[in-house]
Subunit: 132 residues, 2 copies
């Protein structure tokens, strides 16, 4: 037994997600590096960030190299999979299982740019091709 979270349910909390996002974008990083980025977004103490990352490591959300004095952390869960996980939950609980409902709401509320809309159209076309 090693990893507590090798099961399907990746459910990071709000704060954990912030840290994951930093690591997804930066790649392997120290606590200090992560903390310095978080500090720009909100007020938070260093040991808070540290503790969170330690807990995330216990949960299996992060992996770390502790061979050197300064540990190096890395996301242990893939970004897309995590996004999909959270999204599906939202589709179920908030949109009663209707993905299109969610999509329309997303497009409606979030003033989307012309570019974004075009990109989505292309994406729909691709799905069509694959399905036919």
């Amino acid at each position: 037994m090693e990893n507590k979270a090798n099961n399907k349910h990746i459910r990071p909390t709000e704060s954990e997600l912030e840290i994951l996002t930093v690591l997804w974008e930066r790649g392997a990083s120290t606590v200090r590096e992560v903390h310095e980025i978080l500090e720009k977004q909100k007020e938070v103490g260093y040991t808070t960030t540290l503790k969170l990352m330690q807990i995330m490591h216990e949960k299996g959300l992060l992996q770390r190299d502790a061979s050197a004095r300064t540990h190096i952390y890395e996301a242990a869960v893939p970004r897309e999979e995590t996004q999909a996980q959270l999204l599906n939950k939202m589709i179920d609980t908030v949109f009663s299982g209707s993905a299109s409902q969610l999509v329309m709401q997303a497009l409606g509320g979030h003033r989307s740019s012309r570019e974004e809309i075009d990109r989505i159209r292309e994406y729909l076309n691709e799905i069509d091709k694959k399905q036919s």
Copy 2:
């Protein structure tokens, strides 16, 4: 002062969302009616449902008619607005602000039906018309 949650942030929790969904679909209901539906979805005690609904009332998520012995509860927050709220938060925290990213992820994972895709296409067209 009356309503604690007349501000912008509608942030129901998981359980609260379940209750809101029931009320959005059924309309005004008693605790027992809500509870009976929740019971089908998960194991939960009656007083738990009651307590939750009372708390939600305090928070301003529900309004109630307490004139009769059996109180009648109703959602005090509109469904679409709540959905938008949660969705926008997710776009920000999980998808770094990109709605199209979220949309594609939603369409990709949740293998959507042809009908759904067509509906979304139409919707995109409507957005275009309004913007031009």
